[in-house]
């Protein structure tokens, strides 16, 4: 059966070039980077090269990059690490209502420990207001964490503007840039951030590896205790192959961004236009301040899981913010934050494109999707069409 993968915000395949770069570090160059002998030195050299590559792309220094097990760990280290480190200065934290659970849940944990967290709302376009941030700042605010681009609706947040204010007020600024890498500028000076989270598997790298940019002078309480790896900020023998893969994937994403992104955006626009021809369909999030590969729409009167399974039967892979796909009874917190009613939020579909999608695939989706939506609506007691 023909398959069309449109779930690149969930994960991507490992590119051939990335896999090739990684392979030597599983078997032949297997040394522990902390060892003194030639095997260890070889691994250490690979880590150094990877760190240089990542630092250069972020416009950071070599010593400002910490490798981790992925975006979730980087977010936990940034948020809990900074909160614990600077709690003498203050115990107020600011984030947004539409963050990934890897930010929201550490925040909730800190609330239980006695910190106070302000969850900034978003407007109906899914954008955090700089003014709302400014108004939320208190004398005891120590950290703000706002995602660069949202994982569900792709909205791009005003990180540089928020970061500028944060810096003026002496507040640390963290951004989760897991979704924006390869699509947006991630220069840490342009963004005015002190902490930035990266993940490899969203950019055609391996799963289980990520990085955290930590601006010089910023201290973090380690969240994993053990050896002295990663400048004592993250214990554990380094995942050499994974880190090499992360650096290679980031290097390729950065180098090819200018050429690949317009191509993806053109396909996305055509797919979106076609989908919006279906009656009672709305786009979630901003049309303009949006990642170029993201579509998130709601089809009224139908439920997301049914839609996803029907698409899957046609070989089309997407995702939904429906409660049924999240393992909870509540639909997506992001869609609810936009002000959508529950029954509409249940009928959402997210399609996220990647570098290998083709015009023919878009044609195929536009051929399959409308009849599926119509069939589910005919079955729906909410629909009178």
């Amino acid at each position: 059966m023909k398959t069309v993968y449109l779930d690149h915000a969930a994960t991507t395949s490992v590119r051939d070039e990335v896999l090739e770069a990684m392979l030597p570090y599983f078997k032949d160059s297997f040394g522990n980077a902390s060892s003194v002998h030639s095997f260890g030195r070889e691994a250490k050299k690979a880590l150094d090269t990877a760190r240089e590559t990542v630092a250069e792309i972020l416009n950071a220094d070599f010593n400002e990059i910490i490798f981790t097990s992925g975006g979730t760990e980087s977010n936990n280290l940034a948020i809990k690490g900074a909160a614990h480190q600077y709690k003498q200065r203050g115990t107020h934290l600011i984030t947004s209502a539409i963050e990934h659970p890897a930010v929201l849940n550490p925040m909730k944990e800190l609330e239980k420990e006695g910190f106070t967290v302000t969850y900034l709302p978003v407007n109906e376009q899914g954008i955090v207001s700089v003014e709302a941030f400014q108004n939320a700042v208190r004398d005891d605010t120590i950290l703000v964490s706002i995602m660069h681009a949202n994982n569900e609706i792709g909205t791009i947040q005003p990180i540089a503007a928020i970061g500028k204010i944060a810096r003026e007020r002496g507040i640390l600024m963290h951004t989760d840039a897991v979704q924006s890498v390869g699509y947006l500028n991630i220069d840490v000076d342009d963004l005015n951030v002190d902490l930035l989270t990266l993940s490899a598997h969203k950019i055609y790298g391996p799963k289980g590896v990520g990085a955290l940019y930590v601006r010089k002078g910023v201290q973090l309480v380690p969240q994993i205790r053990g050896g002295a790896q990663e400048r004592r900020k993250r214990a554990g023998t380094e995942n050499t192959a994974g880190i090499v893969g992360l650096a290679k994937a980031l290097e390729l994403a950065h180098r090819e961004q200018a050429a690949v992104v317009p191509k993806i955006e053109k396909l996305r626009d055509r797919l979106l236009e076609g989908i919006l021809q279906i009656p009672h369909t709305r786009l979630n999030g901003s049309r303009t301040e949006r990642l170029p590969n993201n579509i998130n729409v709601c089809f009224e009167f139908i439920e997301g899981e049914s839609l996803l399974l029907n698409l899957d039967l046609k070989g089309i892979a997407g995702s939904s913010g429906s409660a049924c796909t999240s393992g909870s009874l509540e639909p997506s917190h992001v869609l609810l934050a936009l002000g959508l009613p529950h029954e509409i939020a249940h009928g959402s579909l997210r399609l996220t494109l990647g570098r290998d999608n083709t015009d023919a695939e878009i044609d195929y989706v536009l051929e399959c999707l409308p009849p599926i939506v119509e069939r589910l609506r005919q079955m729906s007691p909410l629909y009178n069409g």
Binding site: E305, S322, H342, S380
Partner: protein, 121 residues
């Protein structure tokens, strides 16, 4: 995640539609939770002779709706009243645990349709 029977009923739901001159109509669930089932029954000589349904919900909700229409056709009102949500799930070779309480509401919808029938007759 879903059994073959669930997927079969989800892909080819039986008895979808409405009965314009139904003897009883039942609705269960709410759109807020993401599952609503509406069921129409036609009764002759105390026996359910026709059933139709419409469902807004996930695959489990559609499959349980479809399955109960098959279970109930030809049954007397007394026999139909005894059908439980668990029996519907069993007839589908089971449902994922997370779906057991939220999407398994076909028997409740049927009971409401029978109450509606009894109230009218």
């Amino acid at each position: 995640m879903y059994s073959d029977k669930v997927m079969d009923h989800f892909q080819n739901p039986r008895n979808v539609g409405e009965i314009p001159d139904a003897d009883g109509i039942g609705v269960e669930g709410n759109a807020r939770c993401g599952d609503i089932m509406k069921i129409w029954i036609k009764v002759e000589d105390n026996r359910i002779v026709d059933v139709k349904f419409k469902t807004f919900g996930c695959a489990a909700a559609v499959a349980t709706s479809s399955m109960i229409t098959e279970l109930v056709i030809g049954k007397t009102i007394e026999e139909a009243e005894k059908i439980t949500n668990t029996a519907v799930a069993e007839a589908l070779d089971g449902l994922p645990p997370v779906k057991m309480h939220c999407s398994n509401l076909a028997a409740d919808a049927l009971k409401k349709a029978i109450e509606d029938y009894k109230a009218k007759h």
